[in-house]
């Protein structure tokens, strides 16, 4: 079909509009215009692909295209702009892909045609060189701007990371007859895992929390601060009466536990319903005097109790993840730790750590590696972490790793 845009005058106009060729004399432009081909390209068509060889450059007469590498978009270009010229000038492969964003009309000029036309006018090379250098200066300036912005984002992330670290306990409380250790290794600069260990104000119970907010990065980090703070605030300043006698302490502690989980769940599920953000949480209240542990496991990896006898007890879920369904119910369960027993809680950064063959570390390996006998809790966690790191090998740590271990110390022998 004959289009008015394919007339030689219009082709020359298109070429002249392009900064890349704006310094060329009329006779050269006219020569190029005569030898250029007009292409009609439908929206969504990829005209060139990064890494492939190519011998033509294209000028956009009408329409719009994106310059990209896969899903990463570098720029949008439109009428009067050129693409594909780099590979034409240096004969290297395409440095980017270009895909039309709308039905477009293009002029295409082959490498040989371009160099032939330029060779008729010694000034033409100079003009093209100037245009190329001008573009290079623009690119250098753009890189400088982006580097400055990147640096400022990195600083912000670092500040975020430091503030977030404040949402993890600075130190772990000392509790007589108990040895407690924690391990936290973020996969990115800000993380979605959290843990907490604190004493209730109104009883001798020790709160143990470990959680994993879905997703990664800044979004997960923001919600981590919310989940952690709500759980801590509702259990520290919640409903427990300080005059509770010892006999009723466990019952009251169960109320504190349930109230904390229910309130946290309801708050996030209603106030942030549209975000669909959730966390798996294990929340236990330990009576350090007798080893009784009441807990809610809200969709979290089952903590393991390693008995001194060698048996292992798993504390399976007592409800679903928190933050999604306001009317969710949770059950409080009870476990008892005896002297010499160790409880180990962790996030899925441990059991789902992957090696280069895409195999997971798995719960079975945790059970195999666990060495509660004769090791203090810190060493126990270090052995586990080293085993995970060794298993992962050169594969990237793709998720946060958080671990918490508590050991009920056996009585010191009188000898």
């Amino acid at each position: 079909m004959e289009s008015p845009l394919t007339s030689t005058e219009n082709r020359i106009d298109t070429l002249r509009k392009c900064l890349f060729l704006s310094g060329l004399q009329e006779s050269v432009l006219s020569d190029l215009a005569l030898k250029a081909e007009t292409l009609r390209v439908a929206s969504g068509e990829t005209i060139m692909t990064r890494g492939e060889e190519g011998s033509a450059m294209y000028f956009i007469i009408s329409g719009k295209a994106r310059v990209h590498d896969g899903e990463v978009i570098w720029a949008y270009i439109e009428e009067g702009e050129v693409f594909g010229e780099m590979a034409v000038l240096d004969s290297e492969v395409r440095s980017a892909s270009v895909t039309t964003e709308s039905d477009s009309l293009l002029l295409s000029i082959e490498r040989e045609v371009f160099y032939d036309a330029l060779s008729t006018d010694p000034e033409a090379f100079k003009a093209v060189l100037h245009a190329v250098l001008k573009r290079e200066r623009e690119i250098v300036s753009e890189i400088k701007t982006r580097s400055t912005k990147l640096l400022s984002y990195q600083k912000e992330m670092e500040i975020g990371r430091r503030i977030q670290a404040d949402f993890l306990p600075g130190s772990i409380p000392k509790v007589e007859s108990w040895e407690i250790a924690a391990w936290f290794e973020a996969a990115r600069e800000v993380a979605g895992d959290f843990y907490d260990v604190f004493k209730l104000k109104s009883s001798s119970h020790l709160a143990i929390v470990i959680g994993d907010v879905c997703d990664k990065g800044v979004g997960a980090a923001l919600f981590m601060t919310l989940f952690r703070s709500l759980i801590r605030a509702t259990s520290l300043y919640g409903c427990m009466d300080s005059t509770v006698d010892k006999a009723d302490a466990a019952g009251k502690a169960a109320d504190v536990l349930l109230n904390s989980i229910l309130t946290t769940n309801r708050y996030i599920a209603t106030t942030h319903a549209g975000s669909s953000m959730f966390a798996s949480v294990f929340f236990g209240l330990l009576d350090p005097d007798n080893g009784e542990l009441i807990y809610v496991n809200a969709g979290h990896e089952a903590p393991m109790i390693f008995r001194q006898s060698g048996e292992v007890e798993m504390l399976d879920i007592t409800g679903g993840v928190i933050g999604l369904f306001p009317a969710a119910n949770y059950t409080v369960e009870t476990a008892r730790l005896n002297e010499g027993d160790l409880i180990f809680t962790y996030t899925d950064g441990v059991n789902e750590a992957k090696n280069l063959d895409n195999q997971q570390f798995t719960e079975e390996r945790i059970l195999k590696v666990a060495a509660p006998e004769g090791n203090n809790t810190e060493t126990f966690l270090k052995i586990m972490f080293d085993a995970v790191s060794e298993f992962r090998g050169k594969a990237e740590q793709s998720d946060d790793i958080t671990m918490l271990a508590l050991k009920y110390l056996p009585p010191v022998s009188a000898d």
Partner: protein
């Protein structure tokens, strides 16, 4: 690029049930496609959805977020006080997906069926 394939069917039980079958991995890259498809069938009039996960070999947390968003889209006053959605149920999850559903306790929030007819008549 990873994609999801969908098949939409209509069944009549006690109420009209839209069976949405998904095929592919539901992860960070694809969960929005599921959410968009669900929005499309809900806008088209679907009020009860049976999500057939028989063709899903992997579902990450993004997939669970998308399922939660679906329960939100289908929710009304009657369902707001319930701990389980009466409007969205799951069908036939693969072993791998079923394991994650159990770990996260999603079976507490959504009914899961292995049998299609039983699932349809449960609405």
């Amino acid at each position: 690029m990873a994609t999801l394939n969908f098949m939409v069917g209509q069944e009549q039980g006690n109420v009209a049930v839209t069976v949405l079958r998904v095929e592919g991995d539901i992860d960070a890259a694809t969960h929005k496609t599921l959410q968009d498809k669900a929005a499309e069938v809900i806008e088209g009039g679907a009020t009860h959805i049976l999500l057939d996960l028989g063709g899903v070999n992997y579902m990450g947390s993004a997939g669970f977020r998308a399922i939660h968003a679906m329960t939100n889209m289908l929710a009304d006053e009657e369902s707001s006080g319930l701990s389980k959605s009466p409007y969205l149920k799951l069908l036939n999850p693969t072993e791998a997906v079923g394991r994650v559903i159990k770990t996260l306790g999603f079976d507490v929030y959504l009914d899961i069926y292995q049998d299609r007819n039983e699932a349809i008549s449960s609405f």
